[in-house]
């Protein structure tokens, strides 16, 4: 049995290293094009840093108002020469780890439940909508009364911050299961449990990971803001104190530490997301 030629044409995905396919004369994206995003991104950062440095060097404003990149990086280095920084980082990291970890476990369970059981969704919707549209930061004073100024109150803020994007995206993933796939599964007599495990859950993975990624941003905001208000240790607390004592370069060093962590975690999750979408042919302009 022969396959028609038009039938046998396969799109070759970018970045594919299958040697069999390499022989075909398919135009690959050139190397330069491949690194374009990184190259342009780096150049643009260098440009902005240079302009910032030049303006700062002109010293129109004192360092307190406008420190240059060199001032900030010096402060950054100095920061890591103290012992306190490690206590701050480990405090914030623990808060983040516990709060975000709980948000993943509970958010996933609630999101899957809401997506799969319509009645559960009806019951939960008012609360999810209420909390999602409330800036959860305003609850910090309450959490401090409940849990004190140490870790538990921060964990609560981080947990609530990350929880809702995870719930909402997970639910959307379940709800977005293609009707055609469900019909096929039913037609072959699949049980509900099998449909959930083999059709709904794998199809939701990209949505769930997006929820995790968005949750990280919310969780980091939670760490910093909660520590700004009241804390003994933590990177947010470091930023707050540096700001209040007019150590602008040190403050910005703290900000960079937080932003860098956020970028790193988001990138890692983005990588994982891409990995789970290996079946999606890559689209390149």
């Amino acid at each position: 049995m022969s396959i028609k030629e038009a039938d046998a044409v396969m799109p070759v995905t970018a970045g594919d290293t299958d040697p069999q396919r390499e022989k075909r004369s398919v135009v690959r994206p050139s190397r330069i094009k491949q690194y374009e995003p990184v190259v342009i991104g780096t150049l643009s950062v260098i440009f902005v840093l240079t302009v910032w440095q030049l303006v700062a060097n002109a010293r129109i404003m004192p360092v307190l108002f406008l420190p240059g990149p060199t001032d900030v990086s010096q402060a950054f280095v100095k920061l890591f020469q103290t012992d306190e920084i490690w206590l701050d980082i480990s405090t914030s990291a623990q808060e983040m780890g516990i709060g975000y970890g709980m948000a993943i476990v509970i958010g996933l369970a609630i999101g899957l439940g809401m997506g799969w059981y319509t009645r559960f969704q009806y019951a939960m919707d008012p609360f999810v909508n209420f909390f999602y549209s409330t800036p959860r930061i305003v609850l910090i004073p309450l959490f401090i009364i409940w849990f004190g100024i140490d870790m538990p109150s921060k964990i609560a803020v981080i947990f609530l911050g990350a929880l809702f994007p995870i719930i909402i995206n997970t639910m959307a993933g379940v709800r977005n299961t293609e009707a055609a796939l469900l019909r096929v599964a039913r037609s072959f007599g699949a049980s509900d449990a099998l449909i959930f495990r083999r059709v709904v859950l794998p199809g939701s993975v990209p949505f769930i990971l997006t929820g995790f990624r968005l949750g990280i941003g919310h969780a980091l905001t939670g760490v910093v803001v909660a520590e700004l208000i009241a804390a003994r240790h933590g990177v947010g607390q470091l930023i707050a104190i540096a700001g209040q004592t007019f150590q602008t370069p040190k403050m910005l060093a703290g900000v960079i530490l937080i932003a860098g962590t956020g970028m790193l975690l988001t990138t890692i999750l983005q990588r994982i997301e891409n990995r789970f979408q290996a079946w999606r042919p890559q689209i390149r302009r």
């Binding site: 028609k4 038009a6 995905t13 007599g189 699949a190 083999r198 794998p202 290996a278 042919p281």
Partner: protein, 273 residues
């Protein structure tokens, strides 16, 4: 009156359902009587929206019938079962699974085969539908015709008593469609599964089937049964055979009458949808 020479028996099948939120009942199929003989390839044609796909869904057990009876090998059809397998118009493949994984999905859902058996027999089906070398490709890397081959292989792997095909080639381009018709006949002649094929394409119906049933406009009923006396195996050139053209004229005329029916008769009792 159990007909022992029948695979599928439909007696006075009526299918009705509520139309969305409105308070009207929509009659999609209104008293279908038909018999599919063992090993027969039966095609149903009809104007679009005539309830032929609805009828097929009922045969698959996806949709309950309101009145009448529908039975396969003397057993009443109530829900989907391993004795039937559907080839869908939309391939409905799991995009995160390879061709092999998708072909195995049907038996996996039915839990009728061990994983090892399923895999080795899936490879045979893949060979049968001509997809060798594509076992590890993902659906989105395949053309429409190849996706339908996977769809077909998935149904064949469950080894059903009856194969149900819901306009499987409707979304393909004209040339691919013809090639797929040819291949379907080749595969069918090897397995000789009783087949019920829904289409709106008259030529396709005549080319494939032993008998063609013409449905009326909605609500669907059997209007005409045409025995196709063309010898098998059939070549694609048979479509230009004078006998073929006679069948085509006959069926076309029958459908034409339905299209010309005045609108009032069609919507009797049912507000325009």
């Amino acid at each position: 009156m159990l007909d022992r020479s029948a695979k599928l028996t439909a007696t006075g099948v009526v299918i009705e359902y509520w139309l969305g939120r409105s308070r009207t009942i929509f009659t999609a199929v209104d008293g279908v009587d038909l018999v599919v003989r063992p090993g027969e390839f039966l095609a149903i044609v009809g104007p679009s929206g005539c309830g032929k796909t609805t009828f097929l869904n009922a045969v698959d057990g996806l949709l309950p019938i309101s009145r009448g009876s529908l039975s396969l090998d003397g057993r009443e059809i109530k829900r989907p079962g391993p004795d039937r397998a559907m080839v869908f118009q939309q391939p409905g493949l799991l995009p995160w699974r390879t061709v092999l994984g998708n072909v195995m999905f049907g038996v996996e859902a039915q839990r009728t085969m061990s994983r090892r058996d399923a895999e080795s027999r899936a490879r045979q089906q893949i060979e049968l539908v001509g997809l060798i070398g594509f076992e590890n490709a993902y659906p989105l890397e395949l053309s429409g015709g190849m996706q339908q081959r996977v769809n077909l292989a998935r149904a064949l792997l469950t080894d059903p008593e009856m194969l149900l095909l819901d306009e499987p080639f409707a979304a393909l381009d004209a040339q691919t469609r013809e090639m797929m018709q040819l291949e379907l006949l080749k595969i069918w002649s090897k397995t000789r599964k009783t087949a019920l094929f829904i289409t709106h394409d008259i030529k396709e119906a005549i080319y494939l089937a032993d008998r063609v049933i013409v449905f009326t406009r909605r609500p669907g009923r059997v209007k005409k049964v045409v025995e196709i006396g063309l010898s098998r195996p059939r070549d694609l050139r048979i479509k230009r055979d004078p006998q073929f053209l006679t069948y085509e004229d006959e069926i076309w005329e029958s459908i034409q009458e339905e299209l010309a029916v005045p609108a009032e008769r069609l919507i009797a009792g049912v507000p325009a949808a």
